[in-house]
């Protein structure tokens, strides 16, 4: 169980994390989602005491991280793959960490095998690929067999097999009643791994809900309609609560009407339809909808019309 109360971090004028409250419950995987610069990593660093909160507090099983008697046994943390001295071998890195808690060499060998590092364990970390570094970070996090697992972007740089491994591991750890908290900016990853999702935007929690609810948010009721009479049909459809977006000369996206009703209207107006597709909401859409106004660094908006913008409200889901 991780609990943050009014957690705030300011760097000079800039507020990276703005008084957030959340709880990460044991026995399930909680995803921490947000665009780059939203404050995910800062929050995670505050959880494990690397950054000092400007105000507020965060506890792990009711205690501050610094007060834990055996931090590595209680919390396993992957903050970033580069938290390793490049001149040391993976094996010696893990051995040094293990020594602080009197963890046996047998356990070091175990996590090396578990993360598939056997072939490179004796090599210096400086030559590791991003994926190998990530595996070593996972090995460090698992070293103490922790009851809380905190992983910042764990699938970053992993091959598909590694991604599946992290996903399976996270689910497995949660099924054992452990607390699993992992961040990502990859929404699809979260949809497959997390039970609960906390969405962070510009340092604030903008949603904290089960993954199904987050997806439902975006489901909206957009319907894609392909018709040679796109112009005429659009004019007939538009009304209160109904918006139409022309994305191609013969393609429109209708919001506010169910597909069945659109079909009926087409029949009565004698409009030929080539396609009538209700658009399933994805976590991706939900995420974009939620964070639309909260992205710190916007890419220049090109090809804006290619994707139907969900018109869902952006108020927080509690």
């Amino acid at each position: 169980m991780i609990e943050a109360i009014g957690l705030t971090k300011r760097y000079g004028e800039k507020t990276a994390v703005d008084g957030i409250n959340f709880q990460v419950e044991p026995g399930r995987v909680t995803g921490f989602l947000g665009p780059n610069g939203a404050g995910k990593s800062t929050t995670m660093r505050m959880i494990v005491g690397l950054d000092r909160p400007t105000s507020g507090s965060v506890t792990l099983n009711g205690k501050k991280y610094a007060d834990l008697k055996a931090p590595l046994h209680e919390v396993g943390v992957l903050l970033d793959a580069k938290a390793v001295h490049t001149g040391r071998s993976a094996y010696n890195h893990l051995r040094a960490l293990a020594a602080t808690h009197g963890i046996s060499r047998k356990r070091v060998d175990e996590v090396i095998a578990l993360t598939g590092l056997e072939s490179v364990a004796r090599k210096r970390v400086g030559g590791f690929s991003l994926g190998m570094g990530q595996r070593l970070g996972m090995a460090s996090a698992l070293l103490g067999d922790p009851s809380i697992l905190i992983l910042d972007e764990p699938v970053n740089g992993l091959d598909p097999e590694g991604v599946i491994w992290v996903r399976t591991l996270a689910r497995h750890m949660a099924s054992q009643g452990r607390t699993v908290f992992l961040s990502s900016h990859l929404m699809s990853e979260m949809a497959q791994t997390a039970d609960q999702i906390i969405v962070l935007g510009r340092g604030r929690v903008i949603a904290d809900a089960p993954v199904g609810d987050i997806i439902a948010l975006a489901a909206g009721n957009a319907v894609r309609v392909r018709t040679p009479d796109a112009d005429r049909f659009s004019k007939e459809l538009i009304g209160t609560d109904v918006t139409v977006k022309v994305t191609e000369p013969d393609l429109i996206v209708v919001n506010g009407l169910p597909a069945a009703r659109i079909g009926e209207l087409a029949a009565s107006s004698r409009v030929v339809l080539h396609e009538l597709t209700p658009l399933a909401g994805s976590l991706e859409d939900a995420y974009l909808a939620l964070t639309e106004d909260d992205v710190e660094y916007h890419a220049s908006d090109f090809d804006d019309d290619a994707t139907p913008a969900p018109t869902t409200a952006t108020e927080p889901v509690q």
């Binding site: 000092r52 590595l72 040391r88 996590v111 460090s140």
Partner: protein
């Protein structure tokens, strides 16, 4: 890394009896120090250069120069003083190497991000800093003693033949001077370590440490000589390398008595050097607790 292995080995086999202890942190820091190549090379350089420089000085006799009267036979005390200075001649290199090692021990962790792993394992931080300093001190002491006493053991038997100097191992001042030279190396490493912990950057830490040990004495001394300002000359006297040099002076007594200029014996010098370390280390420890890693 197969998915099937996950269920089998997430590690429930680990006994939960182990916990964070200071002994464990010390062991961890020993592992860290001795699993880096830089440590190995620093030690090799110190030992090789100490012995090498001692051997050159002990075996090569400068030819008599015209106009310089040949020195008469040395007193017994002067012979011991010479023997000590030959055995510790290499310390001038050793102190630089150990200053670099001392700074690297901590700045290397900041540079690579390793410090975050260290603090995740030791969240109170101060025990990690103390353990690092202790491990460094023990290592520098062993390296210092081995290189200096090793050099002495090799060159002392040669000196009667080459320079008509008869070193006396039973002379307490000889032993204390040689030990003093080793202790100076320990404190240089520790002072440099503290500066590294404050600056947190390898290039900056090494530059600042070497500046304090190598550049500042010459600079302050020069200004002092040119201005004849007593207080500036006194600053030069209390700099680490100045008081550190006193530690290995054979007599261990105050060197000069000039009105207004301070001078320190061996014990005073040792205490001043210790004060340099303590002040810098406390500052490093305070900053360590306050700053984000």
């Amino acid at each position: 890394m197969t998915t099937s292995s996950v269920t089998a080995t997430t590690g429930t086999t680990l006994p939960r009896t182990s916990r964070l202890t200071f002994g464990g942190i010390m062991k961890s820091e020993f592992i860290k120090l001795f699993t880096l190549r830089s440590t190995f090379w620093c030690i090799v350089i110190v030992v090789v250069l100490s012995v090498g420089i001692g051997l050159i000085i002990a075996t090569v006799n400068p030819p008599a120069r015209a106009g310089v009267p040949a020195a008469g036979p040395l007193t017994v005390a002067a012979q011991q003083a010479q023997a000590v200075s030959f055995a510790t001649a290499g310390s001038q290199i050793s102190e630089l190497v150990l200053a670099v090692l001392g700074a690297l021990v901590i700045t290397g962790e900041y540079g690579t991000g390793m410090i975050r792993s260290t603090f995740a394992a030791v969240p109170k931080r101060t025990p990690a800093l103390i353990a690092k300093a202790l491990v460094l001190a023990i290592t520098a002491l062993v390296v210092g003693l081995v290189s200096i006493f090793g050099t002495a053991a090799i060159i002392f038997p040669l000196l009667p033949g080459t320079k008509n100097i008869h070193p006396d191992w039973t002379d307490g001042h000889v032993l204390v001077s040689l030990i003093g030279a080793a202790l100076y190396l320990v404190l240089v490493a520790l002072i440099s370590f503290s500066i590294g912990a404050i600056i947190r950057n390898s290039a900056g830490g090494i530059a600042a440490a070497l500046g304090l040990v190598l550049v500042l004495p010459g600079l302050v001394g020069l200004i002092g000589r040119l201005t004849q300002l007593t207080w500036i000359e006194n600053i030069a006297t209390v700099l680490p390398s100045a008081v550190g040099g006193n530690l290995s002076v054979y007599t261990g007594q105050k060197t000069q008595v000039v009105s207004g200029l301070v001078s320190f014996d061996r014990l005073d010098s040792g205490l001043i050097l210790l004060a340099w370390f303590v002040v810098l280390f406390v500052l490093a420890a305070v900053l360590l607790k306050r700053r984000d890693a």
